[in-house]
Amino acid sequence: MEYLFTIWVVVTLNFLLPRAMPGDPFLYLSAEEGQEVTGFSEEQRQYYLEYYGLDRPVAGQYLSYLSDLLRGNLGYSLYYNEPVSTIILRRLPWTTFLVIAAVLLSTVFGTILGSISAWYREKWPDKFLFFCLILLSEVPAFLLGLVLLFTFAAGLGLFPLSGAITHFANYSSWWEKLLDILHHAFLPVMALTIARLGGMYLLSRNSMTTVLEKDYLRTAWAKGLPQKRIIFRHALRNAMLPIVTRVFLSLGSLVGGAILVENVFAYPGLGHLMREAVMVHDYPLVQGIFLVVTICVLLANFLADLVYRKLDPRIGDYSGIHGG
């Protein structure tokens, strides 16, 4: 319910924004550079208003906007001369790939480092890791990306400077192509992963420490269970709960980071496209990307609710983890 409501808010915002914008579309259309100013006559204005459906009441415009959306029609890009949905679908996989890779890597490594830290709490490995990762967690992803780009790509020449794939390359096999893609994605994924690592580390460290102090863990030790089983079955599974929710809840900021990082590496995902669209004032495209990105993030959060309930049977049918 809550998600549907949020999606509705986003969609409506998207509808209202261009209409709340100061100015008049005809003012821009009529003042082209290098031409004598051709003001619109009243009849022409009327014709275009009718053509774009702007003469209808706002409620009617809103309804047709909604029905268009439901049919997957996001409008027509002014700059690329293609339907917005086609362009977005072409770029979406790259961004999804970056984000998912970064989520997986940062969660896995963050949890491992956090568990190590909790295990050696207050000893030197904990102190060392804590200091390093606190420092890293404060550095925004795009600034990290710039460092990686200039040291590993520009300086050492180990990685390509931009793009997601080598242009006009002929691959002898599919794995060669895969290798090329991974080669291009390595630095952007690294930047996103490292930037997120600190947060995941802190969370799993705290979570693990609390779990390690619980009575059922002492019982497990007392029963003489092997250490591996205690760590993985008893401690980690319970410590994972807050981590899983956090993974999805922080997805919004991760997507923000991905947009910036894509621009650092000129990676052809949605973030890069969004900036290009803003630069050429392609408003339908900007709005389309905005809508797709937010809805994806909302869906991921919805999934988080479901996964959380699966992981923690104690929650049962409670309507949501954010409620209350």
Binding site: F5, I134, F142, L146, G252, S253, N263, M279, V286, I289
Partner: protein, 281 residues
């Protein structure tokens, strides 16, 4: 008051003290920008792309504008955006938190829903869209950033008020006929203020990073040269990857940003630990 602050600062750990010193230095640089920047920050004052040294302590950019001067003035933008956003967010969020926490009922429900929405919504895409539609001025950027920051102080204030409301001394004050405003001034604000103030430092760090990100995308205010904007110009320079220009043009604004953000983070960690001893280390 001042003595109390000095006493508190003495309890800071080493990173916290270092962070405080850095922020004070940045503040000084921002205030004294016209005095300490030898060259003008907006017009060229020498040959383009001179390496650091000689007349230009940090070199010049592609138009021959002195980088040290740009960084000095950029500090003003960063501080303005950071603290402006934090102040606005704390005021707005604080007010919302008080209303919903004290009144309860439907205003509280509406606010909680709103907070839930704001928390899941990815902030950068919304900022880009708003910046694209309403034009990139510094004021707009501060407003948009505040729009995404108020939820944190609002949540803190709300939970504090909910807790305080049930305390016996507040109940006692109420039975003696204390009005809403009296309670607010005398009891709620002194309890809530330290927490919000600490949160403000974190918020300003976030705002500075967000502004740098927007400027890096070229969506910042083009008339106010912030550190992010210098990075934007540097990375958009065609030959930046194949020359040594990045060694000053990109490096110094980058360092300035990183040092600033990390110092703010250290200070806020330190303060959070003092205000809330439960946080542990």
């Amino acid at each position: 008051m001042l003595v109390k602050i000095v006493e508190r600062v003495k309890e800071f750990s080493l990173p916290g003290k270092a962070g405080l010193v850095v922020i004070l230095v940045v503040l000084l640089v921002a205030i004294l920008a016209p005095c300490i920047s030898i060259h003008p920050h907006n017009i060229s004052s020498g040959p383009p792309l001179v390496p650091p040294g000689g007349g230009h302590p940090l070199g010049t950019d592609e138009l021959g504008v002195d980088l040290w001067a740009q960084i000095c003035y950029g500090a003003r933008v960063s501080l303005l955006v950071g603290f402006g956003t934090a102040l606005l967010a704390a005021l707005g969020g604080g007010l919302m938190g008080i209303v919903s926490g004290y009144l309860g009922g439907w205003p509280d429900k509406v606010l909680m829903r709103l907070i839930d929405i704001m928390i899941i919504l990815p902030d950068l895409p919304v900022m880009i869209v708003l910046a694209a539609f309403f034009g990139p001025s510094l004021l707009n950027i501060i407003l948009v950033l505040a729009l995404f920051s108020w939820v944190f102080p609002a949540r803190i204030v709300r939970s504090q008020i909910l807790m305080l409301k049930e305390r016996s001394y507040i109940k006692a004050a109420e039975t003696y006929g204390a009005g809403v405003w009296y309670l607010m001034w005398k009891h709620f604000l002194p309890e809530v203020f330290p927490l919000v103030a600490v949160n403000m430092i974190r918020l300003s760090g976030r705002a500075i990073v967000a502004e740098a990100g927007l400027s890096f995308l070229g969506l910042g205010d083009p008339t106010s040269k912030s550190w992010g904007l210098i990075i934007h110009h540097a990375t958009n320079f065609k030959g930046i990857y194949y020359t040594d220009f990045w060694k000053w043009w990109l490096l110094y604004p980058w360092l300035a940003l990183i040092i600033m953000v990390i110092s703010l983070a250290f200070i806020s960690r330190e303060l959070e630990r003092m205000v809330d001893p439960r946080l542990g280390r």
